[in-house]
């Protein structure tokens, strides 16, 4: 926490629509990304995770609060040069490895474009060497993979190419939006390891967005649990997933499939009623934040839900 944050979200709010059709997608979201560290943003679909990613990528402007990059506001006042530098510093990895590569170009093209455009290598040989290096980093053999087209690769291989493509820009911040949710369970762990290793070796600040809280601690040192646009519990990954305090975090963790818990014969009403009560309570806007530890916080909820 001593190093200055690379990227800081400060009280960010986002509303869509107007008048009666106003939707609050984010409310008072604040966190800091540090070099070589990752934050996992966890929550159900529709909780605002991807809106966060799009704000950081500069695709939306927040309707409240600030996004600061190296202490400077990037929400529209940075000027063209500042904006370009920012876009170079932030790269995204998307959920769908099938839709995010162009089917008519081979892998070498996908990787050499950013290398050339951002001036990270000059001359055909240097570009080729750089592409080979990137492919090797993500665990693909350049001699075999570079000349292939996206349809010739598996989902996991394509996601590796996407990671290499993001790294080709030499970013400082990597935003990975559900990078493994469309992949087979059997290769998810490999991709998560690759992300964790990349982050550590290259000193990248990473935002890992997922609905699967079980994978969060595999990549990230810190976890932010979101619900209905608010951060409900956040802090050190070990604290949030190991000693959760907010009822929604507990609900989320209790619902992670556990092979030792049989569902048959349990009845469904009790779980459903509890889930609905917790969701209703967590949905209400609240500004009261409780500190649970040195780096472990939660948004206050009505007492009766706490046990």
């Amino acid at each position: 926490m001593t190093a200055p944050p690379l990227l800081e979200l400060d009280g960010v709010g986002m509303r869509f629509g107007a008048g009666d059709h106003m939707v609050t997608a984010l409310r008072d979201v604040s966190f800091r990304l540090q070099p070589g560290r990752a934050i996992a943003l966890v929550g159900e679909s529709g909780c605002g995770k991807t809106t966060c990613a799009r704000l950081i990528a500069g695709l939306y402007r927040p309707t409240a609060g600030q996004v600061r990059f190296r202490g400077r506001d990037v929400t529209g006042q940075a000027g063209r040069a500042g904006e370009l530098a920012y876009r170079r510093a932030v790269q995204m990895i998307f959920q769908d490895p099938f839709a995010s590569l162009n089917p008519v170009f081979n892998i070498a093209h996908h990787l050499s474009r950013p290398v050339k455009l951002h001036g990270h290598a000059a001359g055909a040989r240097a570009v080729e060497a750089r592409v080979a290096e990137l492919l090797r980093w993500v665990g693909l053999d350049p001699d075999i993979t570079a000349i292939k087209y996206p349809h010739q690769l598996s989902g996991g291989q394509r996601q590796r190419v996407n990671i290499a493509r993001a790294l080709a820009v030499e970013p400082e911040i990597l935003v990975a939006d559900e990078p493994t949710s469309m992949l087979d369970v059997s290769i998810r762990l490999d991709i998560l390891r690759l992300l964790a290793e990349t982050k550590a070796a290259r000193g990248l600040a990473m935002l890992y967005i997922t609905h699967d809280i079980a994978t969060a601690a595999h990549v990230a040192e810190e976890v932010v649990v979101m619900f209905a646009g608010q951060m409900v519990e956040w802090g050190d990954a070990a604290a949030v997933t190991g000693a959760p305090q907010h009822p929604y975090t507990r609900l989320l963790l209790s619902a992670v499939p556990d092979p030792d818990v049989r569902l048959r014969g349990q009845g469904s009403r009790a779980f459903q009623a509890r889930a609905e009560a917790i969701r209703a309570a967590s949905r209400t806007a609240s500004d009261e934040i409780l500190a649970l530890g040195p780096n472990h916080f939660m948004r206050a909820v009505p007492e009766l839900l706490l046990q």
Partner: protein
Amino acid sequence: MSEPLLQVRDLVIEYLLDQGSFVAVDRVSFEIGRGEIFGLAGESGCGKSTIAYAITRLPRPPAWIRQGEIRFDGTDLMTLDEPALRRLRWRRIGMVFQSAMNSLNPLLRIERQFFDVLHRHTGCSRAEGRAKAEAMLRLVGIDPRRVGDYPHQFSGGMRQRLVIAICLALEPDLIIMDEPTTALDVVVQREILQQICELQERLGFSVLFITHDLHLMSQFCDRIAVMLTGRIVEQGPVDQITRAPLHDYTRRLWEAIPRLPAAAGVGTEAVRERMPS
């Protein structure tokens, strides 16, 4: 009564290619008992969905069933003609697919979607269809007053429950669920599966449950078969698969699932193998 509801024997399904063919399902045999929840696990491309389509005799070309026997409640499905199959599908074998929530017609009210299925198979009237739809909504935990709503007015989890409700409306004997909750978050997934368990206990149908998530499958199923490249490599009661897997692939499938670790940092735990430079 002791005879299994579904018996699949020596099933071989091939995909015809320009030259030769690709064997997607290779001599697969399994049985599903009455009231049993049976799981078929494996990675994508291992042939599990191909089997699901074969049971309803809906393999999409270029897939074709080269050999094997599929007996449902004593009838060999391979010998049935199209009209007989149409009477069987939905009525006795229901299907819920991964993107089932997108299979609702966005232009029709929920009531109408129930009516379409019910009228076709039972010839019921509009009023009977509406009453049944309301009863089914109540069964899956959705306010019955919402039968007049359109699909987009429901969340993803609710739409998935609606499809399950339509499927259950005809009281089928077997429900095939192909990754029914993969697109949903864990809380909603748990809600839906617990509900299916409860309904199963009440209505007594059998389930063929297909997923790649072994953890989820162990929570939900009575027996599990693990598939690898078209073959069943291991089959047994859930306790055997979870506690004492015999096949090396089953063990690897278990190890590959991201678990909830106590502490962070997987990067340090295992050094990835690098490609030689």
